[in-house]
Structure formats: C-alpha cells, structure tokens
C-alpha cells in the first residue's frame, strides 16, 4: 500500500516527537503489565530494583497496545516541520479519535506555542492499516492534507534505520475507483542546538543506572566530551564515505552495473567541495580566529596578574616591613 510520495513536500522531524511517542507507548504498556508482582515475565537480573525478583509464574504480556496522538508543528511553503506532539483518546466504538478532547488539547497547546498548528496524527504499530485511513480522513477537516507518523515500537537490535515512517495520503485510481491510499514520504531530522545537546546527553546514558558513570566523565573533562562527540560524528562521515567509495570501485571494476543517477549524485556532491571559498569567508573566519586568540590572551593576562597578586600578598605577609622589629623578619 505504501509507495513513494510524489507531493514534493519535505518533512522535518524533531527528536522530541519521537521521544514523546515512545514515552506514551511505554507508559501505556507499563500500566497494562504492572511489574510490581511476580506476574511479570522477568528472569533474575542483577539490578537491585525494589520489585523485580524471581518469577514464579510467567504470564504472557498483553499484546502491545496501540497509542494515538496528534502531531503539531509549522508548515512553511513546501516544508513541513513537526515540532511536538500530544496524546489523544481513541474511541474504539466509533473507530475514531475523540474530537472534543483533540480540540481542548489543541487550545491548551495554542496558548503556549501560538505558532504551531495541527499537522496530523501519530500511532504505533508495524505497518499502516486500512482502519487508519478512517482516522486520517476524519482529521482532514482540520488540516487538508494531514500526515501520519507511524512508530514501530518493536525493539529489533539488528535494525539500522529509525523505525519511524511518515505517510501522506494521495488520491489514486485503483480499479477505476479513486481512493485515498497512504504513500511513504522521506523525512530528515531537524534540531535546534539546545535540543541536540540534551538528546546527546540522554543518548549516552545506560538505562539501568542513573547515568552517573557516563555523565561524570563528561563533566570532569568538557574538552574530552566535546572532542569525543565531534570524533564520533566524523567517524560516521568517514564510514559512509567508505561505503560510497567501495561501491564506486566495484562499479568501475564492472562488478556492478552502472547506475547513472547515483553517479550524478556523487559527482554533484563532490563538486560542492570546497564548501566555501570566497574572500569574505576567509576574512570572517580569520577574524573569529583572532577574536578567540585575543580572548585566550586576555584570560592568560588575568591569570598572570592574579598569580602575581597572590605572590605579592604572600611576600608581604612573610616579610612584614612595618613590624616593630624592623627590617626583615622571619615568617612566624
């Protein structure tokens, strides 16, 4: 049912939305399977939690629930940026989302974030289903072309891609009947600096302990933390480029048939290097460089004068000229 979208809209997703959805799902799942008594399917683990212990009876957990919610954000021209999300109630009788609740929540969020509009809705699951179209159509009166964000909560460690897919609805003619179907859209991850720092911070925590060990290393040496994050980013860049390189080598050797569109993309990518070469950039860059050197110089000066001051104070204390014994006296 999902093919490639042709609407030409670019989607930008903020990490906050993903953490929001994941939290909603975890909460609902956890309320359904209380871990307090021994009915949870836990083997012994070394973690000193108050409740988790040996399991006497292993009860199969209830099937993972589906949670629903609304995503909000900003649409500027052809770019749709999804900033935030909130939960919604699902009415299984009418198979739709509670409209009054949605409006109430929307009003509350409008007060705090006046720029954000309802852009669509989200749900959890592994694939978009037919019944989802019903909900999707219901939302069309708020936003003519809502988006559907689907998060797959199954934890699969072999996965390399984010289990988040964004669907749009398009009118397609199938068997002569025009129908709305979901089409897959690509998206990029967009962030602001503060969001990036906090995501970075929590990403490096180990879930079991409070993250104290990992974060302490970061606090003790900010230089190491800073360089480590840049280093890991550069390593990713390097590995990605190596993949491309191997692919191109294979193509040159003839092992893989030529794919011209890919070659064009790689070529255009390389023609973008060097990134900026103008005079103005060099000037600005060097100015920033000298500014930083100036600040360092200033800090060094302050440090030196502070040390000198301490030296003088100690000297004065040790060799007190105005003491009654006159002249030099030993420091008592």
């Amino acid at each position: 049912m999902a093919s490639s979208s042709s609407s030409g809209l670019t989607f930008k997703l903020h990490p906050l939305v993903m953490v929001n959805i994941s939290d909603h799902y975890t909460r609902v799942k956890s309320q359904m399977n209380p871990p307090v008594t021994s009915t949870s399917c836990s083997n012994t683990n070394g973690n000193g939690n108050g409740e988790g212990g040996d399991s006497a009876a292993v009860k199969a957990p209830a099937p993972p629930p589906r949670v629903y919610g609304c995503v909000i954000g900003v649409q500027r021209g052809r770019t749709v940026e999804i900033f935030n999300s909130f939960e919604l109630l699902y009415d299984s009788a009418t198979d739709s989302l509670d409209r009054a609740f949605l409006l109430k929540k929307q009003e509350l969020y409008k007060k705090v974030f006046p720029n954000f509009y309802v852009l669509g809705w989200y749900s959890t699951g592994s694939d978009a289903e037919e019944s989802d179209m019903h909900i999707h159509k219901a939302l069309m009166d708020i936003n003519e072309s809502p988006v559907y964000v689907l998060l797959n909560p199954a934890i699969n460690h072999a996965q390399k891609d984010l289990p988040v897919t964004i669907y749009e609805s398009e009118m397609h003619v199938i068997d002569g009947i025009p129908q709305l179907i979901f089409v897959n859209s690509s998206y990029t991850i967009e962030t602001v600096e503060a969001e990036r720092i906090s995501v970075d911070h929590v990403a490096h925590l180990k879930p079991s302990d409070g993250g104290s060990a990992a974060t302490q290393c970061k606090f003790l040496c900010p230089l190491a933390a800073h360089l480590t994050s840049i280093h890991s980013a550069i390593k990713m860049l390097n590995s990605r480029i190596r993949v491309l390189h191997h692919y191109l080598v294979a193509m040159q050797k003839g092992e893989i048939p030529y794919e011209n569109s890919l070659l064009r993309q790689v070529s255009s990518l390389l023609r973008r290097l060097p990134a900026i070469e103008s005079e103005k950039f060099q000037d600005d860059f060097l100015m920033e460089y000298s500014d930083t050197l100036l600040i360092t110089y200033l800090a060094m000066f302050t440090n030196c004068s502070s040390t000198m001051n301490e030296l003088v104070e100690k000297f004065n204390t040790a060799y007190d000229r105005h003491s009654r014994r006159g002249g030099r006296t030993a420091f008592i």
């Binding site: 990490p15 503060a194 079991s208 590995s239 290097l273 440090n303 301490e310 104070e313």
Partner: protein, 366 residues
C-alpha cells in the same frame, strides 16, 4: 567487504568497555533488563497515596536528596526554555516520589512570562494547569504535579529571592514539590545541560552543615540577590533515566543525527552572550581592583578576612575568564575542524595524504 557495520560495532564495544557496561546478549535477559528499566514508568497510585499520607518529609527538611528526570521531561524543558530566548519561561513537572527521590516523568509549559518579578505568577496559570492535568489523566498520564521549572537565560541555575518565596509557599501547601532551574544560554554555550534542582528550607531552619555547592559564575547585577538567599535552599542530585524504547530510538537516531552534531556552530549563536560575560567580568575586575586599592592604603591591620575575600574575588574572576575562554576555544575548534574537512580539498588535485576526502575524487573525475 563492507566495513560499515564493523566500525560502529567496534565503537560500541569500546564505549561499553570504558563504561563497565555488562552487555545483555540473549533476548530473554534483555527483555528482563527492559522490564526493569521500564518499571519506573508504572504508576502505582496506591503506593503514592500511602506516601502522601505518611508525609515523611514533614519532619526532615532535608528528606529528599535525589531527583530522577526522564529523558522526555529534560528534552521538553530545555526546548521550552530555549524557545523563550532571553525571557524567563516557566512550566510544571509531573511525576511521583520514590523514597528519598523525586521522579519527574513529564513536564509541560505554562503560558506565563516573566516569572522573576511576580510571586504569584502561578495563580494565573492555575486554570491552565487544571485543564491540562485533567486531559492528561484521561489520556493515560496518571502522575500528579510534583514541581515547577523555570529558566534563567544567561545567569545561572540558582533561586532568586522571588523564587525562594514562591517555593517556600509551594512547600507549605503542595508537598512534595520541587523547583528546577534551567539556563538555556549556558547550555548552548558550554555544550552541556545547565540544570539545577532545589528545595527550600522552612523559615528559620538552620542547616546543620554548610553544603558545598558547585561554583558557577553569576553576573554582577544578580550577585546580591544570589548571596542573600543562597543559604535558604539546598540543591539535589540529578540523574536521568530513559525507557528501553527510548534508548533504542536514540541509538538509531545517531545514524541520522551525526550530521547535526558536525554542523552545529556554537560560536555563531551565542555571540552577544559571550560579549555580555566579558563585560561583566570587566566590571567585576574593576570592583576587585577598588577593594585591593583600599586595603593597600587602609593599613595592614586590615583583618586577614578581607584580604582573603579579594584574593578569592580575583581567583573567581580568573576562573570565570578561563571558563569563557575554554568555551570559545571549543567553538573555534569545531569551526577549524569543519574547515579542514570541507574546505581544504581542491577539485582535480593529485591525491594528498588527507583522511578520506580526495579518495573518491579521481574515480569520478576520470
């Protein structure tokens, strides 16, 4: 043939080794680890109600010592604080208690601005709070409001006089309650999250020992407010937690996120903050100099106390200037690295001994 998965595996193994992480391999045990880490998300209202009735904090003002903040709450608070720019914003936190720890599960923003001048800023937001809590309970978030947070853009994480009086009021009527302060400007500038959690002592209580708090630089115009009230509250240790699904998502997020890490330019966004800090330091230096001048002529009978004060004043200034410099240098380092990576290659050049850039070039050019 494809080295791509192996290098990330190596990196992960190294990281795990360095951080003494016991890896869970079999799915059975990993699900138990997941269950244990997700256990914190379960809201047991019976236990919470019992705790509310017992009120163990009533007898010990120092009862709560730790705070656990969920990844979601942290993200929401930081994003909200940053979106306010230079205006202070505030919001409420929802969660529960667990022994001597307060657990913050979620946070939401309040449509109130400028909390630093009004004690009852919260009164305006009560209706919003009631509405929001009601809708939340319906949607499955059962926790109660357990604290409030606000931002101090650019001037550090501490409680001002107004904050202290607000918090004391809260601690009388809405226990258990926690105050959290976030500084979004310093977060961006330093590259790590600036956050502090506080609880006030009740009126007239003298803490048995003087708690050692982490030093932070405070601008001159706020330093008086800080000094007057800094003994009336204590700070709590903050740790963070996340669910198993969160950590899975965040791991995978890195595959796309590294681009943002590399492209971030902390220097560009925070220019005026740095300039403000430097001019503030200059004023402090002048003040210190005046004190120094006084003592030199003001006779050497000057009590050793005062001399120590100026010295520590000058030492503080030195420390602050070092901190600003370090942040600037870090920002510049990122810029230089990016320049080397992306600017120092030339089209159709013979392959130099540079990391990886020119390698693919000859392929395509020919």
């Amino acid at each position: 043939m494809d080295p791509y998965p192996s290098s990330s595996q190596i990196a992960q193994k190294t990281w795990e080794l360095e951080n003494d992480i016991v890896s869970v391999d079999t799915p059975a045990t990993s699900s138990s680890a997941d269950a244990a880490s997700d256990a914190i998300f379960y809201y047991d209202d019976v236990a919470q109600a019992k705790f509310q009735q017992e009120k163990p904090w009533a007898n010990d003002p120092h009862y709560f010592r730790r705070v656990k903040i969920s990844a979601l709450a942290l993200l929401k608070m930081v994003v909200h604080a940053r979106s306010g720019g230079t205006i202070e914003v505030m919001g409420l936190m929802q969660g529960k208690t667990d022994g001597d720890a307060i657990i913050v599960m979620d946070a939401f923003a309040l449509p109130v601005e400028g909390t630093e001048t009004r004690v009852n800023a919260q009164a305006d937001a009560y209706e919003y709070m009631v509405d929001y809590s009601q809708t939340n309970k319906q949607a499955g978030r059962l926790e109660n409001v357990v604290g409030w947070y606000h931002s101090h853009p650019g001037y550090g994480c501490w409680l001002s006089g107004i904050d202290v009086s607000t918090q004391m009021l809260n601690q009388q009527f809405q226990e258990p309650f926690l105050a959290v302060v976030i500084d979004p400007t310093r977060t961006v500038s330093a590259g790590k999250v600036e956050i502090g959690a506080f609880r006030t002592y009740p009126e007239g209580y003298k803490p048995p020992d003087d708690p050692v708090s982490e030093y932070q630089t405070i601008p001159l115009n706020k330093i008086e407010d800080f000094g007057v009230h800094c003994k009336q509250y204590y700070s709590l240790d903050i740790t963070y937690f996340k669910s198993s699904l969160d950590s899975h998502l965040l791991d995978l997020l890195w595959n796309k996120y590294w681009v943002n890490t590399l492209s971030s330019s902390p220097l560009l966004g925070n220019g005026d903050y740095v300039a403000g800090q430097i001019s503030d330091l200059a004023e402090k230096l002048e003040q210190a100099e005046n004190q120094l001048a006084h003592s030199r002529f003001g006779s050497l009978i000057a009590p050793p106390q005062r001399k120590k004060e100026e010295e520590s004043q000058l030492a503080k200034i030195t420390r602050d200037s070092a901190k600003i410099t370090v942040e600037q240098v870090h920002g510049l380092m990122s810029q230089v690295i990016k320049d080397i990576l992306f600017n120092s290659v030339r089209q159709s050049s013979r392959s130099r001994a540079e990391p990886s850039e020119p390698e693919p070039e000859p392929m395509v050019e020919s």
